[in-house]
Structures are given as C-alpha cells and as structure tokens.
C-alpha cells in the first residue's frame, strides 16, 4: 500500500492527526483504505461566524507527487462560499499547483510548499470560511452577495449550515 515515499508520508500524517487531541473539530479517515484519498469531517466551531455549527464533509485527494504537489480538496456537503466552487472544490492559494499562476495572487500570498500538511491545509480552509478572499471568487454569486447583500449571503450560508446538521 504505502510503499512510495508519498504513501509512507501520508500514512504517517494520518496516524499523527488521528492521535492528536489538539485539533478539535477535525476528523480524518481513508476512503477505501487508499492512503491518497482522505475523508474529512469539519465540525465548525461557533466562533466561526456564519458557518459556526456546521458539519461539513470533504475529500482530500493527494497526487502521487505529494508533497511536491498539493492535494485537491472538495466539499461533499453543499457549501455557499466565495472561494468554494458550486461543485464543492476549494479554491485557496496554498492548494494551487505551483505552475498555475493564473489566479493572479499577490506573490506574498501563501503558496503551496512541501512542508504544508493535511492539518495546516484544513486549518487554512477553516480560516478561509470566516474570511473569504473575493479577489478570485470561485463562486461568483456568493462573492457578489457577500459584498453587496450581507443579509441574503447570511441567509444562504445558514441554510447550508442547517442542512449539514440535518445530515447527521
């Protein structure tokens, strides 16, 4: 199974995250015992405005080139957010493959580096929930409402949160 360096590294990081009690609100496991496919459950704390209380299921798909290349992250629960595509895919600077500079981020924006881990990725994503970046919106409608109609934006987000709670 985990015979490549990438595989060995991932199983170790999985074990570490599963035994680490210091990261509340995140639980991880494998999809079909494949160390390159992680199932993630984010239980968002009430401190995160709007999204607080949500239970969001997502997948992390790691490439064979990991950690030279970043994983992709995709929410499986519907999640209305300027930086999440309608299909659930997360658009955040640290997950962009290095050769894709089309997003036009400031060079100061945090980029993928091989010392990022699943844990740092998930923490960045949680932080993204409370502070969207509308420079390069993945969900144009969400970005527009977030800027122009906060009340409607909040309504849409809270609906997602309620739906996510109903799933449980």
């Amino acid at each position: 199974m985990a015979t490549t360096p990438a595989g060995r590294m991932l199983s170790r990081q999985l074990q570490q995250m599963q035994s680490d009690k210091d990261i509340p609100g995140i639980s991880v496991g494998l999809v079909d015992s494949n160390v390159f496919e992680w199932e993630v459950m984010l239980m968002i704390s009430d401190d995160v405005k709007l999204y607080g209380g949500g239970f969001f299921r997502a997948r992390l798909s790691f490439p064979q080139e990991y950690p030279h290349m970043p994983p992709k992250m995709k929410f499986e629960s519907p999640l209305f957010h300027p930086n999440i595509y309608p299909n659930g895919e997360v658009c955040i600077s640290i997950l962009h493959p290095p050769e894709e500079d089309k997003y036009g981020y400031e060079s100061a924006a945090e980029r993928w580096s091989p010392v990022q881990t699943p844990e740092t990725i998930l923490l960045s994503v949680i932080s993204m929930l409370s502070s969207p970046n509308d420079e390069s919106p993945a969900n144009v409608e969400a970005a527009r409402l977030w800027r122009e109609d906060p009340a409607e934006f909040k309504k849409r987000v809270r609906r997602c949160v309620r739906e996510s709670q109903g799933e449980e």
Partner: protein, 423 residues
C-alpha cells in the same frame, strides 16, 4: 544590422527587435530536467543574430567554457543547477572520504531544520533522497564509473530530484532564519515571509539573495566554489563573472550561466591556460586600495557598490577573523573595526561540521570586501578592466544584469529588458 556595438547607435526598430529576441529567450521547458553535457556553441548560435554584445560574449564563452549543461526552465533551474553541480563536483573529485564527510555534514544540517521548528516527519523524505544520491555517488566512485550519467539519470527522476531540491530549499530557508542579520537588509519583505513565499514553495525560481544563502548555508563549507557568469549587455567581450564563495582557490568550482530568470551549468576549458589564480591578484589590489577605501565607503547602505561584480570575492579584506593558518596567503593586516562587515563571524550560527571539514569555514562571514573587478585574464597590455567603476547607466543602453544582493522591489519591472519567464 548596425556594425556599431554602441547601443546608443542602434535604431529604435533594432532595439525593439533585440528586446523581442531577449524576451523570447526561453529555456527548454520540454527537455529533460538536466541535460547531458553539450557544446556551448549552441548558446552562441542562439544569439548569432541578436544584440552584437550578446553575440560577442557568447562566442567568447564558447571558447572559454566549451561545454554546458541545460537545466529545464520549470522554476527550479537555479536550485537544480547548484544541487546537480554539487554532486557532480563531488563525483569528479573522486574522493571517497570527502563524499562521506559531506554526507555527514549535510545530514548534520538537520539541526537547522529542527531549530526553526520543522518536525522530522516533514523533512525526512527529502533528506532520504539526498542521502540516496550520496550513496549513488560513492558507489559510482567505487565502481570507477567513467562519466556522471548516473547523476543525470537520478536528477531526471522527477520525484527524487524534487525531493533533493526541496531539501536544499528547506536548508536555505532555515539558514536564513538562523542568520537573519546577514540577509534582512537585502530583502523587501520580512525574512519569514520571504522564506515562505520565495524559498520554500516548489517551483519558485531562486533569486540572488536566495542563491547567496544557498551557497552560504549549504555549499560553501564543502570547499566547492560557486561562480556565476552573467550574460548581459554590459560593455565588454566576456561574460561577467561573480564568485559567490571566497576567491581563494577552491578545490573545484560549480559554474553557472545566468540569463534573466534562468540558470544553466557551464564547464571551463581544461587545462586552464592564462588563468592566473585570481586570488593573488585580488589580494594585492585590495591591500593597496585599503587607505582610500576605508573611510569613503559604507557597504551597509551602498547598493551601487554592491552591484559591482566580484565585490565579495576577496575573503582577506575586511575580515575581523584572522586568516586560516592553512592559507597560503601572507597574513592580512587586521582590520578589526572594519565597517564593511554585515555581521561578525561569531554571530553566525556555526555549522556543526565546519571545523572538521574545511578550513574554508573560517571565511564564512566574509561579506563585502573591496570593489575590485577581476583583472582580464590575458594580455596585461590590453584595455583596463572594464568594471573598475560603476558603469554609466545612461550611456550603456539596456542593462539586464541583476546583480546579487541588489534587487530592488521594482528593479525587474523598470529595466528595459524584462525577465521573459518569471515563475
């Protein structure tokens, strides 16, 4: 085409054409990560119809440095050139003891990584890849392999090649964080941010400060020198050399050809004729220049002086530390209160291995020394050295030289010839 080499004499149309040629220069993005050795005439051919200065310099280069090795322009080329050059040089020296010493030294640098808070499980995969290349190098020497094809193959294996480069990136980043006073003044952003956005991310091309830090933190103590040859449009018939390590003769030297945004490896013609050891000449010159230089210059603030090639070439000048007793050079008059030093040696984080490996370690903190250009290697009766003073930018025409440690925030944007493929 104009016969004149004076850029000012060129018409607007010609300038635009040269600009276009320059902008269109692209390294091979489809070829191997590291090519086999090839003739430097290929470089001359690229410029045969270009700017006369570049054509002259590349023709000259094909004579002085007849072979080259092309790095894929994927954003890692500078890092890869140094890493490959380092292992190739170790192999070429064929000194098993040295290889073992270097393996132990490089592994001991894990302490840098620990000190900046990296956990071992995050970096061990990269250290393992480097260790594997050491093992292959040692084995190839043991086997008496004739050529370095094992290294070319290893560096063309994407995953392990990336891993070695990442290892060197992380070591460089940690080294900079442990010696911030050496680099902070040259950065346009906080050092931690610089490391996070310019050093650590994959496929982020190395810049001048990063290259100096890579050489300082990872390569220098090995005793292997690193020299950059700038192919630029400055006056002169030769590419402009700049030594990143001390000018005392190294056991061997990695030579890099720099064109804006890209590095390849160069190999000098052997045996070296007319190549007087640079260090002696420079030592003499710098000694003579001490009196006027002392009060007049302040390296901490003068980026103009820092732009002069070979500025950092003389380890003997401006150092508080005495020369190594093993040095063949006569003792230098001590300059304890030298204003030229950025940081005193005792403030540097010492390499755990340096005292065992090489006397070169003593010169770790040789920062700016005297602004002396390398003397022309041939024909003392020829024209005076081209760069003993600042080139006049107004009369020079387009300048594409980006000298080490003088990157200004907008320098690359304001130059007439922009780097064609910034990654």
């Amino acid at each position: 085409m104009s016969n004149s080499t004076n850029m000012n004499a060129l018409s607007q149309a010609e300038m635009e054409r040269f600009q276009k040629l320059s902008n269109e220069f692209e390294p091979d993005v489809h070829g191997p990560l590291v090519s086999t050795k090839q003739s430097s005439h290929s470089i001359a051919l690229e410029y045969a119809n270009a700017d006369p200065i570049l054509a002259t310099k590349t023709n000259d280069l094909a004579v002085t440095h007849p072979t080259t090795r092309v790095m894929k322009g994927d954003g890692n080329c500078g890092w890869r050139a140094v890493a490959f050059g380092y292992f190739e040089t170790l192999f070429t020296m064929r000194d098993q003891l040295h290889v073992q010493q270097e393996l132990i030294r490089i592994k001991s640098l894990n302490s840098y990584l620990d000190r900046v808070g990296l956990q071992e499980h995050l970096y061990e995969v990269f250290v393992d890849a480097t260790e594997e290349i050491f093992a292959q190098t040692s084995q190839a020497i043991h086997n008496g392999d004739q050529d370095e094809s094992f290294l070319v193959n290893a560096f063309n294996e994407e995953y392990s090649s990336q891993a070695i480069i990442t290892h060197f990136r992380l070591l460089t980043s940690a080294w900079m964080k442990l010696n911030p006073e050496r680099y902070e003044a040259y950065l346009t952003m906080p050092l931690d941010q610089y490391c996070a956005t310019r050093i650590e991310p994959v496929r982020t091309e190395i810049d001048e400060v990063g290259l100096q830090a890579l050489v300082d933190g990872v390569i220098k103590v090995s005793g292997i020198g690193v020299e950059i040859l700038y192919l630029d449009r400055s006056e002169g018939e030769h590419v402009t050399p700049h030594i990143l390590t001390d000018s005392r003769p190294s056991q061997a030297t990695i030579r890099l050809l720099y064109r804006p945004g890209h590095y390849d490896i160069l190999y000098r013609a052997e045996p070296t004729v007319n190549m007087t050891p640079m260090v002696n000449l420079q030592y003499d010159m710098s000694s003579n220049l001490t009196p006027w230089d002392q009060g007049a210059l302040n390296f901490d603030v003068s980026s103009h002086l820092m732009s002069i090639p070979n500025l950092m070439a003389d380890p003997g000048f401006g150092m508080g530390a005495p020369m190594s007793p093993m040095s063949p050079m006569p003792p230098v008059s001590p300059a304890p209160a030298s204003p030229f030093r950025v940081s005193p040696p005792q403030e540097m984080y010492p390499s755990p291995m340096q005292s065992h490996v090489s006397s070169h370690a003593q010169s770790h903190a040789s920062i700016p020394s005297i602004p002396v250009s390398s003397p022309p290697p041939v024909m003392p009766s020829a024209a005076p050295p081209p760069m003993t003073s600042l080139p006049s930018r107004s009369s020079d025409g387009p300048q594409i030289r980006l000298n080490p440690l003088v990157m200004k925030p907008n320098l690359s944007h304001s130059l007439p010839v922009s780097p064609p493929f910034k990654k």
